[in-house]
Amino acid sequence: MKPGMNGTDVKPSVTPGVRLGRVSFVWRPWIVCVSLLLAAATFLVFCLSIGVGDFPIGLPQVIATIFGRGERVDEFVIMDLRMPRALAGLVVGIALGVSGALTQSIARNPLASPDVLGITGGASAVAVFLVTVSGGTAAAIVSSVGLSAAALMGGLGTGLLVYFLAWRRGIDGLRLILIGISVSAVMEALTTWLLVTADIRDVAQAQAWLVGSLDDRSWDEVQVALWGTLVLLAVVAGAAFQFKPMHLGDDVAAGLGVRYGAVRAVLLLCAVLLAGVAVSAAGPVPFVALVAPQVAMRLARCPTPPVVASALVGALLLTGADLVARTALPVSLPVGVVTAAIGGPFLVHLLVRANRR
């Protein structure tokens, strides 16, 4: 069979492209539709969540107020009291979704999420340490940089530790996960030990932080998370193009002209920082980073975690879980309880599927 003898009259279904001036990209209508629907659903849940509370506000009024055409009372309740919490949910969801999509892509494994890679565990251990160990240095750290920033540093430090322990002439996905699991276990043990030995009043405060909650967010806290997330998303968007061939493995990517070591280091750092920002803003909300990219893959019918759709599913999951936690149950629960209830079974589903293959 000579080249070109067959197939010249069969038009293969190569994905069509779109050109706008100097910019051109692949046109995938299905992913665009899914993303738009997810964005609409997220906005709807976001508004519903704002309307819920001791002073209920209807959906039309909420939407009118957000676009600046609401009444004075609504505006005060929504913009000053409820917006920080709702926005925090949105930002934390986006950060976790993107972080999970990046770690899962880098490790080429659906189990690789910031929870598994030790980032969340490290942040928690540092936060609990600072809450429970009363004394000069700890108190000084908390008063100077704040608990959130200290937790972020803990997450970053643990992330780097896992990265360097897993490094052996390059990064292997499975090795990264195994090292992450062991470091996570050490961090959890440390956290438990701190909780057992600490003063009971500090333990209550630490426990509340550990479940992951959006309660009592202030505008200042939300702004830090919001800007941090935006900057990191810009970096991710910049590096995303070079990342595309890396799903095919390091050697193939190198053959296609990608400096994969540098691209991976930048994106893994972004993933760790995004997870750190999320943990410092809402505590270790479990499973969102694991579940969001996998749900996004299935909805968008992509072979690899799509970053934008993962961000939107993350935001929808977290906002939705917060809404459920505050309304559907007799007592108002922290959001982490609901995401754990969704995420646990989903993790089992992933493991069963992986075993069947």
């Binding site: 080249p3 293969p12 190569v14 994905t15 100097r22 051109s24 595309k244 095919l248 190198a254 053959g255």
Partner: protein, 287 residues
């Protein structure tokens, strides 16, 4: 220039080597695999690297493609030191297919082959009609146009290898490095893939590959590079290189080299211990 390999324009570099290693020493960590090796890849022909397991065949191919950085010596690509070129510029000149690549589950053939255009794209220009054209031609040339919509993981081993070669072809280079393109394939599929490689060679590509099977290497290449323990034992046309003495020296293999009854290349007939109709003294002589 992108389409040179597909349209069949002869490479203009003439007789000079496209790719050459000069005094290259390379290894993994403290372990040296190749020590002070020189090799030149002639243009427009199929060069096949053969040698026993662990002799450094793949290491040499990876060094030639810049996947491995030599601790001493240089690799020269079209007259330039490959270490000084941008990764992207290397990818525009040299296509590489690593050993046993794995595609993500569910990735379609068309999307995989489209990835081959990456070295020609940029953040702003991620996909153009040129790209679509080159990908369609690469699909057609490797005979996988009909499979374009199928997920790569649903294909047979032979089809899958064709698809990966198609991706390398979409890169638009006329210099292809293939690391054991027939691994895990049965003989019929291996022949099928090598026929494809020969088609690419006919259309003007320079090919360097690593193969295990000596007879397939002899049949499909014009230039053999025989390695042992990190250095080159012999290099040249299969008819000149493949001798019983050399096979014994390189592999420690007792074999008889005869004329291929269906071709003009040598054929290696290995001599084992059983079912061999040589008398014992002849076997002892061979040893």
């Amino acid at each position: 220039m992108d389409t040179q390999s597909v349209t069949g324009v002869e490479s203009e570099s003439g007789r000079t080597a496209r790719l050459a290693a000069r005094g290259v020493t390379v290894g993994y960590g403290a372990r040296t695999v190749i020590d002070d090796l020189d090799v030149a890849i002639p243009p427009g022909v199929i060069t096949t690297i053969i040698g026993p397991n662990g002799c450094g065949k793949s290491t040499l191919l990876r060094t030639l493609s810049r996947l491995l950085k030599p601790s001493r010596g240089t690799v020269v690509l079209d007259g330039d030191d490959i270490a000084r070129l941008r990764t992207r510029d290397v990818a525009r000149k040299l296509g590489l297919l690593p050993q046993a690549p794995v595609a993500p589950e569910g990735l379609t053939v068309a999307d995989l082959v489209a990835r081959g255009r990456h070295p020609h794209q940029s953040w702003l220009r991620q996909w153009s009609s040129d790209d679509a054209e080159v990908v369609e031609r690469a699909l057609a040339m490797t005979g996988v146009s009909d499979l374009a919509d199928r997920p790569v993981d649903a294909l047979s081993g032979g089809q899958r290898q064709r698809v990966w070669i198609s991706m390398t072809l979409a890169q638009g280079t006329d210099l292809l490095l293939l690391d054991e393109p027939t691994t895990y394939l049965d003989l019929a599929h291996a022949m099928d893939v090598l026929d494809l490689v020969d088609d690419l060679h006919e259309s003007g590509c320079t090919v360097v590959m690593v193969l295990h099977d000596l007879n397939l290497a002899a049949r499909y290449s014009d230039n053999l590079v025989v390695m042992r323990a990190g250095s080159i034992l012999a290099q040249g046309h299969p008819r000149d290189v493949l001798t019983a003495e050399l096979l014994h020296e390189a592999f420690g293999l007792h074999a008889k080299v005869i004329d291929d009854p269906v071709g003009d290349r040598p054929l290696v007939v290995p001599i084992g211990r059983t079912h061999v109709q040589l008398d014992q003294s002849a076997i002892n002589l061979l040893k």
